[in-house]
Protein backbone atom coordinates (compact mmCIF):
# COMPACT_ATOMS: atom_id res chain seq x y z
CA UNK A 1 0.00 0.00 0.00
CA UNK A 2 2.77 2.37 1.03
CA UNK A 3 4.78 1.41 -2.00
CA UNK A 4 2.03 2.32 -4.45
CA UNK A 5 1.54 5.65 -2.76
CA UNK A 6 5.25 6.43 -2.93
CA UNK A 7 5.59 5.65 -6.57
CA UNK A 8 2.45 7.49 -7.62
CA UNK A 9 3.70 10.56 -5.83
CA UNK A 10 7.14 10.28 -7.37
CA UNK A 11 5.54 9.92 -10.79
CA UNK A 12 3.46 13.01 -10.10
CA UNK A 13 6.61 14.91 -9.14
CA UNK A 14 8.41 13.78 -12.26
CA UNK A 15 5.46 14.66 -14.49
CA UNK A 16 5.21 18.12 -12.99
CA UNK A 17 8.92 18.58 -13.50
CA UNK A 18 8.71 17.52 -17.12
CA UNK A 19 5.58 19.58 -17.73
CA UNK A 20 7.10 22.78 -16.45
CA UNK A 21 10.37 21.99 -18.12
CA UNK A 22 8.62 21.81 -21.47
CA UNK A 23 6.65 25.01 -20.83
CA UNK A 24 9.86 26.87 -20.08
CA UNK A 25 11.69 25.35 -23.02
CA UNK A 26 8.91 26.22 -25.45
CA UNK A 27 8.42 29.77 -24.27
CA UNK A 28 9.28 32.08 -27.18
CA UNK A 29 9.45 35.84 -27.16
CA UNK A 30 6.70 37.49 -29.20
CA UNK A 31 7.99 38.83 -32.49
CA UNK A 32 5.42 41.53 -33.24
CA UNK A 33 7.81 44.49 -33.01
CA UNK A 34 10.86 43.29 -34.88
CA UNK A 35 9.24 42.42 -38.20
CA UNK A 36 10.81 45.21 -40.20
CA UNK A 37 14.00 46.54 -38.66
CA UNK A 38 14.89 48.77 -41.64
CA UNK A 39 11.57 50.60 -41.65
CA UNK A 40 11.66 50.91 -37.86
CA UNK A 41 14.97 52.72 -38.09
CA UNK A 42 13.55 55.34 -40.45
CA UNK A 43 10.20 55.86 -38.78
CA UNK A 44 11.23 55.82 -35.09
CA UNK A 45 12.26 59.31 -34.01
CA UNK A 46 15.73 59.78 -32.53
CA UNK A 47 14.23 60.99 -29.27
CA UNK A 48 14.86 58.23 -26.79
CA UNK A 49 12.64 58.27 -23.71
CA UNK A 50 15.11 56.99 -21.16
CA UNK A 51 14.74 56.63 -17.47
CA UNK A 52 17.31 56.51 -14.69
CA UNK A 53 17.02 53.15 -12.97
CA UNK A 54 18.67 51.12 -10.27
CA UNK A 55 20.97 49.36 -12.78
CA UNK A 56 22.83 52.58 -13.51
CA UNK A 57 23.58 53.31 -9.87
CA UNK A 58 26.26 51.37 -8.05
CA UNK A 59 25.17 50.02 -4.70
CA UNK A 60 27.49 49.43 -1.78
CA UNK A 61 25.21 47.11 0.18
CA UNK A 62 27.57 44.14 0.34
CA UNK A 63 30.51 43.87 2.66
CA UNK A 64 33.34 41.36 2.62
CA UNK A 65 36.13 41.20 5.14
CA UNK A 66 38.63 39.35 7.28
CA UNK A 67 39.11 39.44 11.02
CA UNK A 68 41.57 38.20 13.56
CA UNK A 69 41.64 38.03 17.34
CA UNK A 70 41.29 35.89 20.41
CA UNK A 71 38.82 33.09 21.06
CA UNK A 72 38.51 31.73 24.56
CA UNK A 73 37.39 28.12 24.18
CA UNK A 74 35.86 27.13 27.50
CA UNK A 75 38.28 24.88 29.47
CA UNK A 76 40.79 24.98 26.59
CA UNK A 77 42.54 28.33 26.96
CA UNK A 78 42.67 31.49 24.90
CA UNK A 79 43.50 30.90 21.28
CA UNK A 80 44.09 32.95 18.16
CA UNK A 81 41.20 32.99 15.72
CA UNK A 82 40.96 34.09 12.08
CA UNK A 83 37.78 34.54 10.12
CA UNK A 84 35.91 35.71 7.07
CA UNK A 85 32.88 37.96 7.06
CA UNK A 86 30.28 38.41 4.33
CA UNK A 87 27.47 40.82 5.08
CA UNK A 88 24.46 42.24 3.31
CA UNK A 89 23.12 45.58 4.48
CA UNK A 90 19.36 45.18 4.15
CA UNK A 91 18.34 48.58 5.47
CA UNK A 92 20.14 51.32 7.33
CA UNK A 93 19.28 49.45 10.54
CA UNK A 94 19.56 45.74 9.73
CA UNK A 95 22.43 43.68 8.36
CA UNK A 96 22.57 39.96 7.63
CA UNK A 97 26.02 38.56 8.31
CA UNK A 98 27.73 35.26 7.52
CA UNK A 99 30.95 34.33 9.34
CA UNK A 100 33.44 31.50 9.03
CA UNK A 101 36.25 31.21 11.54
CA UNK A 102 39.14 28.93 12.44
CA UNK A 103 40.99 28.34 15.68
CA UNK A 104 42.73 25.61 17.61
CA UNK A 105 42.28 24.64 21.25
CA UNK A 106 45.17 24.57 23.71
CA UNK A 107 45.40 22.06 26.55
CA UNK A 108 42.90 22.30 29.36
CA UNK A 109 44.03 22.66 33.00
CA UNK A 110 43.29 18.99 33.56
CA UNK A 111 45.69 18.05 30.80
CA UNK A 112 48.39 20.45 32.01
CA UNK A 113 48.24 19.43 35.69
CA UNK A 114 46.99 15.86 35.49
CA UNK A 115 50.11 14.06 34.34
CA UNK A 116 49.43 11.94 31.32
CA UNK A 117 45.74 12.78 30.86
CA UNK A 118 44.88 13.72 27.30
CA UNK A 119 41.29 14.69 26.60
CA UNK A 120 41.60 15.47 22.92
CA UNK A 121 43.82 14.28 20.10
CA UNK A 122 45.58 16.85 17.94
CA UNK A 123 42.94 16.58 15.24
CA UNK A 124 40.17 16.99 17.79
CA UNK A 125 41.65 20.33 18.87
CA UNK A 126 40.79 21.91 15.53
CA UNK A 127 37.98 24.38 16.03
CA UNK A 128 36.02 25.89 13.17
CA UNK A 129 32.63 27.56 13.01
CA UNK A 130 30.15 29.24 10.75
CA UNK A 131 27.15 31.30 11.70
CA UNK A 132 24.46 33.52 10.25
CA UNK A 133 23.54 36.53 12.35
CA UNK A 134 21.06 39.33 12.20
CA UNK A 135 22.82 42.57 13.08
CA UNK A 136 21.02 45.66 14.36
CA UNK A 137 22.79 49.01 14.20
CA UNK A 138 21.65 50.33 17.54
CA UNK A 139 23.80 53.47 17.86
CA UNK A 140 24.77 55.13 14.61
CA UNK A 141 26.75 58.30 14.57
CA UNK A 142 29.83 60.23 13.85
CA UNK A 143 33.06 60.14 15.75
CA UNK A 144 35.50 62.95 15.27
CA UNK A 145 39.24 63.36 15.39
CA UNK A 146 40.39 66.91 16.00
CA UNK A 147 38.41 69.77 14.53
CA UNK A 148 38.01 68.91 10.87
CA UNK A 149 37.87 65.13 10.57
CA UNK A 150 34.76 63.06 11.30
CA UNK A 151 34.13 59.39 10.61
CA UNK A 152 30.82 57.60 10.39
CA UNK A 153 30.37 54.73 12.78
CA UNK A 154 27.79 52.32 14.11
CA UNK A 155 27.62 50.37 17.33
CA UNK A 156 25.74 47.15 16.67
CA UNK A 157 24.29 44.17 18.46
CA UNK A 158 23.75 40.78 16.86
CA UNK A 159 22.21 37.37 17.38
CA UNK A 160 22.33 34.27 15.26
CA UNK A 161 22.94 30.58 14.93
CA UNK A 162 25.35 28.25 13.29
CA UNK A 163 27.57 25.28 13.63
CA UNK A 164 30.81 24.65 15.48
CA UNK A 165 33.15 21.78 14.59
CA UNK A 166 35.27 20.84 17.60
CA UNK A 167 36.35 17.52 19.07
CA UNK A 168 35.69 16.19 15.51
CA UNK A 169 32.03 16.73 16.22
CA UNK A 170 29.40 19.23 15.06
CA UNK A 171 27.57 21.34 17.61
CA UNK A 172 24.65 23.62 16.94
CA UNK A 173 25.76 27.00 18.23
CA UNK A 174 23.97 30.20 19.23
CA UNK A 175 25.88 33.43 18.78
CA UNK A 176 25.22 36.74 20.49
CA UNK A 177 27.41 39.79 20.51
CA UNK A 178 28.06 43.35 19.61
CA UNK A 179 30.62 45.58 18.05
CA UNK A 180 31.71 48.83 16.58
CA UNK A 181 31.87 49.44 12.84
CA UNK A 182 34.12 52.36 12.03
CA UNK A 183 33.99 53.66 8.47
CA UNK A 184 37.38 54.78 7.18
CA UNK A 185 35.74 55.67 3.84
CA UNK A 186 32.41 54.78 2.24
CA UNK A 187 34.07 51.59 0.97
CA UNK A 188 36.17 50.41 3.91
CA UNK A 189 35.34 49.81 7.54
CA UNK A 190 37.15 48.64 10.66
CA UNK A 191 35.29 46.28 12.98
CA UNK A 192 35.81 45.65 16.65
CA UNK A 193 33.55 42.74 17.58
CA UNK A 194 32.88 40.74 20.73
CA UNK A 195 30.81 37.57 20.46
CA UNK A 196 29.75 34.70 22.65
CA UNK A 197 29.41 31.33 20.93
CA UNK A 198 27.18 29.13 23.06
CA UNK A 199 26.91 25.38 22.61
CA UNK A 200 26.47 22.24 24.67
CA UNK A 201 29.17 19.59 24.71
CA UNK A 202 30.26 16.71 26.91
CA UNK A 203 34.04 16.79 26.48
CA UNK A 204 34.71 17.28 30.20
CA UNK A 205 31.15 17.08 31.48
CA UNK A 206 27.79 17.59 29.82
CA UNK A 207 27.36 21.35 29.98
CA UNK A 208 26.61 24.56 28.11
CA UNK A 209 29.85 26.29 27.17
CA UNK A 210 30.40 30.01 26.55
CA UNK A 211 33.19 30.71 24.10
CA UNK A 212 34.01 34.40 24.02
CA UNK A 213 35.65 35.92 21.00
CA UNK A 214 37.13 39.41 20.54
CA UNK A 215 38.30 40.35 17.05
CA UNK A 216 39.50 43.21 14.96
CA UNK A 217 38.54 43.20 11.30
CA UNK A 218 38.77 45.04 8.04
CA UNK A 219 35.92 45.09 5.50
CA UNK A 220 35.34 46.32 2.00
CA UNK A 221 32.03 47.34 0.47
CA UNK A 222 31.04 46.45 -3.05
Amino acid sequence: MHQTFNYSLLTLLLTTNLLFGSIVANAQPSSSETDNPVLDKIVTPDLERRSITEDQLDNEDWEIGVYSGVLSIEDFGSNSVNGLRLAYHMTEDFVLELNYGLSEAKESSIEVLGGGIQLLTDDQREYSYYNISLVYNIFQGEVFMGKNTAFNSAFYILAGGGNTTFNENDYFTYTIGGGLRFYLTDFTALHFTVKDHIFTNDIIEDKVTNNLEATLGLSFYF
Partner: protein
Amino acid sequence: MFAFPTYTRMDSLYRRFFTIALFISLLFSPLAFAKKKQELQVVVTDTYISMHTGPGRGYPIFHVLEKGEVITLLYSKTDWIKAETSKGLKGWVHRRSMDDTVGVNGESVELGIPQLGDFSNRSWEVGVSAGEFDKVESLGVHAAYRLTKNISAELRYSQATGRFSNSKIVSWGLVHQPFPEWKISPFFTLANGQIDISPNNNLSQTQDQDDNFYLIGTGLYYYLSHRFMVRFEYNNYTTLPDRNNNENVDEWKLGISAFF
Protein backbone atom coordinates in the same frame (compact mmCIF):
# COMPACT_ATOMS: atom_id res chain seq x y z
CA MET B 1 47.56 38.36 17.41
CA PHE B 2 47.80 38.27 13.65
CA ALA B 3 50.33 35.42 13.54
CA PHE B 4 48.90 32.18 12.29
CA PRO B 5 49.56 29.00 14.29
CA THR B 6 52.55 27.03 13.09
CA TYR B 7 51.00 23.60 13.67
CA THR B 8 51.26 21.57 10.51
CA ARG B 9 47.98 19.72 11.07
CA MET B 10 46.20 23.04 10.81
CA ASP B 11 47.82 23.73 7.47
CA SER B 12 45.21 21.88 5.46
CA LEU B 13 42.41 23.73 7.26
CA TYR B 14 44.07 27.06 6.70
CA ARG B 15 44.76 26.20 3.08
CA ARG B 16 41.06 25.52 2.69
CA PHE B 17 40.26 28.75 4.52
CA PHE B 18 42.42 30.83 2.21
CA THR B 19 41.21 29.02 -0.87
CA ILE B 20 37.68 30.00 0.10
CA ALA B 21 38.84 33.56 0.76
CA LEU B 22 40.61 33.73 -2.57
CA PHE B 23 37.66 32.25 -4.40
CA ILE B 24 35.24 34.73 -2.87
CA SER B 25 37.53 37.65 -3.59
CA LEU B 26 37.98 36.52 -7.20
CA LEU B 27 34.27 36.17 -7.51
CA PHE B 28 33.57 39.65 -6.28
CA SER B 29 36.59 41.65 -7.36
CA PRO B 30 35.25 42.44 -10.85
CA LEU B 31 32.11 43.73 -9.16
CA ALA B 32 34.08 45.77 -6.67
CA PHE B 33 36.25 47.51 -9.20
CA ALA B 34 33.91 47.79 -12.17
CA LYS B 35 32.56 51.16 -11.08
CA LYS B 36 30.09 52.61 -13.50
CA LYS B 37 31.58 55.50 -15.39
CA GLN B 38 28.53 57.26 -16.76
CA GLU B 39 27.43 60.35 -14.87
CA LEU B 40 23.94 60.29 -13.43
CA GLN B 41 22.75 63.86 -13.22
CA VAL B 42 19.34 64.83 -11.92
CA VAL B 43 17.51 68.11 -11.34
CA VAL B 44 15.82 68.80 -8.01
CA THR B 45 12.15 69.62 -8.67
CA ASP B 46 10.99 69.35 -5.07
CA THR B 47 11.08 72.49 -2.89
CA TYR B 48 14.22 71.27 -1.22
CA ILE B 49 16.20 68.09 -0.41
CA SER B 50 18.14 67.58 2.82
CA MET B 51 21.69 66.35 2.55
CA HIS B 52 23.01 64.23 5.44
CA THR B 53 26.62 63.51 6.43
CA GLY B 54 26.00 59.75 6.52
CA PRO B 55 23.65 57.11 5.08
CA GLY B 56 21.16 57.13 7.98
CA ARG B 57 18.25 59.22 9.25
CA GLY B 58 20.14 60.30 12.36
CA TYR B 59 23.19 61.74 10.65
CA PRO B 60 23.13 65.54 10.74
CA ILE B 61 21.79 67.58 7.83
CA PHE B 62 24.62 69.83 6.72
CA HIS B 63 23.28 71.17 3.44
CA VAL B 64 19.97 71.78 1.69
CA LEU B 65 19.60 71.32 -2.06
CA GLU B 66 17.38 73.88 -3.73
CA LYS B 67 14.79 73.50 -6.44
CA GLY B 68 16.41 73.57 -9.87
CA GLU B 69 19.82 72.49 -8.62
CA VAL B 70 21.63 69.83 -10.68
CA ILE B 71 23.25 67.03 -8.64
CA THR B 72 25.31 64.00 -9.63
CA LEU B 73 24.38 60.64 -8.12
CA LEU B 74 27.48 58.65 -7.20
CA TYR B 75 26.44 55.41 -5.47
CA SER B 76 23.93 54.07 -3.00
CA LYS B 77 23.91 52.37 0.39
CA THR B 78 20.58 50.82 1.39
CA ASP B 79 17.99 53.66 1.21
CA TRP B 80 20.55 56.41 0.76
CA ILE B 81 22.29 57.83 -2.29
CA LYS B 82 25.59 59.67 -2.21
CA ALA B 83 25.24 62.82 -4.29
CA GLU B 84 27.56 65.61 -5.35
CA THR B 85 26.54 69.21 -6.01
CA SER B 86 27.92 71.30 -8.87
CA LYS B 87 30.25 72.93 -6.34
CA GLY B 88 31.72 69.57 -5.34
CA LEU B 89 29.91 69.18 -2.01
CA LYS B 90 29.19 65.53 -1.25
CA GLY B 91 26.52 64.10 1.02
CA TRP B 92 23.74 61.56 1.38
CA VAL B 93 20.14 62.03 0.21
CA HIS B 94 17.26 59.66 0.88
CA ARG B 95 15.85 57.57 -1.99
CA ARG B 96 12.38 58.91 -1.26
CA SER B 97 13.57 62.42 -2.17
CA MET B 98 14.47 61.09 -5.65
CA ASP B 99 10.76 60.62 -6.42
CA ASP B 100 10.57 64.32 -7.24
CA THR B 101 13.61 64.67 -9.46
CA VAL B 102 14.08 64.27 -13.20
CA GLY B 103 17.17 63.58 -15.26
CA VAL B 104 18.91 66.52 -16.94
CA ASN B 105 17.50 65.33 -20.29
CA GLY B 106 14.01 64.84 -18.90
CA GLU B 107 14.45 61.17 -18.01
CA SER B 108 12.20 59.84 -15.31
CA VAL B 109 13.99 58.76 -12.16
CA GLU B 110 13.08 55.31 -10.85
CA LEU B 111 15.22 54.94 -7.74
CA GLY B 112 12.48 54.45 -5.19
CA ILE B 113 12.29 51.83 -2.49
CA PRO B 114 11.06 48.43 -3.79
CA GLN B 115 7.39 47.88 -2.99
CA LEU B 116 5.04 44.92 -2.67
CA GLY B 117 4.21 45.29 -6.38
CA ASP B 118 7.84 44.58 -7.30
CA PHE B 119 7.69 41.63 -4.93
CA SER B 120 5.24 39.79 -7.17
CA ASN B 121 7.42 40.61 -10.20
CA ARG B 122 10.61 39.21 -8.73
CA SER B 123 12.73 36.70 -10.61
CA TRP B 124 15.21 35.62 -7.92
CA GLU B 125 14.73 34.88 -4.28
CA VAL B 126 17.47 34.00 -1.78
CA GLY B 127 17.06 33.39 1.89
CA VAL B 128 18.26 31.94 5.15
CA SER B 129 16.24 30.12 7.78
CA ALA B 130 16.43 28.42 11.14
CA GLY B 131 14.17 25.82 12.63
CA GLU B 132 13.78 22.21 13.60
CA PHE B 133 14.33 19.10 11.51
CA ASP B 134 13.15 15.93 13.24
CA LYS B 135 13.15 17.81 16.59
CA VAL B 136 16.76 18.92 16.09
CA GLU B 137 17.89 22.52 15.53
CA SER B 138 18.66 23.27 11.91
CA LEU B 139 19.93 26.08 9.73
CA GLY B 140 19.37 26.46 6.02
CA VAL B 141 19.79 28.51 2.88
CA HIS B 142 17.69 28.52 -0.27
CA ALA B 143 17.63 30.09 -3.72
CA ALA B 144 14.69 30.17 -6.09
CA TYR B 145 14.12 31.25 -9.66
CA ARG B 146 10.63 32.21 -10.77
CA LEU B 147 9.48 30.25 -13.82
CA THR B 148 5.98 31.68 -14.10
CA LYS B 149 4.00 34.20 -12.06
CA ASN B 150 3.13 31.51 -9.54
CA ILE B 151 5.76 28.81 -9.83
CA SER B 152 9.41 28.89 -8.79
CA ALA B 153 12.16 26.32 -9.03
CA GLU B 154 13.96 26.12 -5.72
CA LEU B 155 17.22 24.69 -4.39
CA ARG B 156 17.74 24.25 -0.65
CA TYR B 157 20.52 23.20 1.67
CA SER B 158 20.28 22.77 5.40
CA GLN B 159 22.22 21.30 8.26
CA ALA B 160 20.61 19.85 11.37
CA THR B 161 23.01 19.29 14.25
CA GLY B 162 21.72 17.06 17.01
CA ARG B 163 23.23 15.39 20.02
CA PHE B 164 23.52 12.04 18.33
CA SER B 165 23.79 12.76 14.66
CA ASN B 166 24.34 15.44 12.08
CA SER B 167 22.22 15.68 8.93
CA LYS B 168 23.03 17.54 5.74
CA ILE B 169 20.01 17.94 3.52
CA VAL B 170 19.94 19.01 -0.14
CA SER B 171 16.67 19.30 -2.01
CA TRP B 172 15.30 20.71 -5.24
CA GLY B 173 11.74 21.16 -6.33
CA LEU B 174 8.88 23.45 -7.19
CA VAL B 175 7.14 26.06 -5.09
CA HIS B 176 3.65 27.14 -6.02
CA GLN B 177 2.43 30.49 -4.76
CA PRO B 178 -1.21 31.00 -5.82
CA PHE B 179 -1.49 34.65 -4.72
CA PRO B 180 1.93 36.31 -4.99
CA GLU B 181 0.39 39.79 -4.74
CA TRP B 182 -0.97 39.25 -1.24
CA LYS B 183 0.88 40.69 1.72
CA ILE B 184 0.48 37.38 3.52
CA SER B 185 0.75 34.77 0.82
CA PRO B 186 0.60 30.98 1.16
CA PHE B 187 2.79 28.59 -0.81
CA PHE B 188 3.07 24.87 -1.46
CA THR B 189 6.20 22.83 -2.04
CA LEU B 190 6.90 19.57 -3.82
CA ALA B 191 10.54 18.53 -3.83
CA ASN B 192 12.93 15.66 -3.75
CA GLY B 193 16.47 15.37 -2.54
CA GLN B 194 19.06 13.63 -0.49
CA ILE B 195 19.92 13.51 3.18
CA ASP B 196 23.32 12.55 4.54
CA ILE B 197 23.26 11.47 8.18
CA SER B 198 26.53 11.05 10.07
CA PRO B 199 26.60 9.95 13.70
CA ASN B 200 28.51 11.79 16.42
CA ASN B 201 31.92 10.30 17.16
CA ASN B 202 30.99 8.96 20.59
CA LEU B 203 28.49 6.63 18.93
CA SER B 204 30.86 5.06 16.48
CA GLN B 205 28.84 1.86 16.00
CA THR B 206 26.37 3.51 13.64
CA GLN B 207 27.27 4.08 10.01
CA ASP B 208 27.05 7.07 7.73
CA GLN B 209 23.79 6.95 5.88
CA ASP B 210 22.62 8.46 2.57
CA ASP B 211 18.88 8.50 1.96
CA ASN B 212 16.72 9.80 -0.83
CA PHE B 213 13.50 11.52 0.05
CA TYR B 214 10.64 13.52 -1.31
CA LEU B 215 8.86 16.22 0.60
CA ILE B 216 5.51 17.94 0.66
CA GLY B 217 5.38 21.29 2.32
CA THR B 218 3.37 24.40 2.89
CA GLY B 219 4.05 27.82 4.33
CA LEU B 220 3.46 31.53 4.38
CA TYR B 221 5.31 34.55 3.08
CA TYR B 222 4.85 37.76 5.00
CA TYR B 223 5.96 40.89 3.19
CA LEU B 224 8.05 43.11 5.48
CA SER B 225 9.24 46.06 3.43
CA HIS B 226 11.71 46.86 0.67
CA ARG B 227 12.77 43.55 -0.86
CA PHE B 228 12.27 41.42 2.24
CA MET B 229 9.86 38.74 3.29
CA VAL B 230 9.52 36.60 6.37
CA ARG B 231 9.01 32.99 5.37
CA PHE B 232 7.50 30.36 7.62
CA GLU B 233 7.17 26.80 6.41
CA TYR B 234 6.36 23.28 7.39
CA ASN B 235 7.64 20.28 5.43
CA ASN B 236 6.93 16.60 5.65
CA TYR B 237 9.79 14.41 4.45
CA THR B 238 9.31 10.84 3.38
CA THR B 239 12.69 9.16 3.37
CA LEU B 240 13.25 5.85 1.67
CA PRO B 241 15.96 4.12 3.75
CA ASP B 242 15.25 0.73 2.20
CA ARG B 243 12.83 -0.89 -0.20
CA ASN B 244 10.26 -2.13 2.26
CA ASN B 245 9.86 0.75 4.54
CA ASN B 246 9.78 4.52 4.70
CA GLU B 247 10.10 7.09 7.42
CA ASN B 248 8.28 10.37 7.92
CA VAL B 249 10.14 13.33 9.32
CA ASP B 250 8.71 16.76 10.18
CA GLU B 251 10.49 20.02 9.65
CA TRP B 252 9.51 23.61 10.34
CA LYS B 253 11.53 26.69 9.51
CA LEU B 254 11.37 30.43 10.03
CA GLY B 255 13.50 32.58 7.80
CA ILE B 256 14.04 35.72 5.87
CA SER B 257 14.05 36.02 2.08
CA ALA B 258 15.15 38.76 -0.26
CA PHE B 259 13.94 39.10 -3.85
CA PHE B 260 15.97 40.51 -6.71
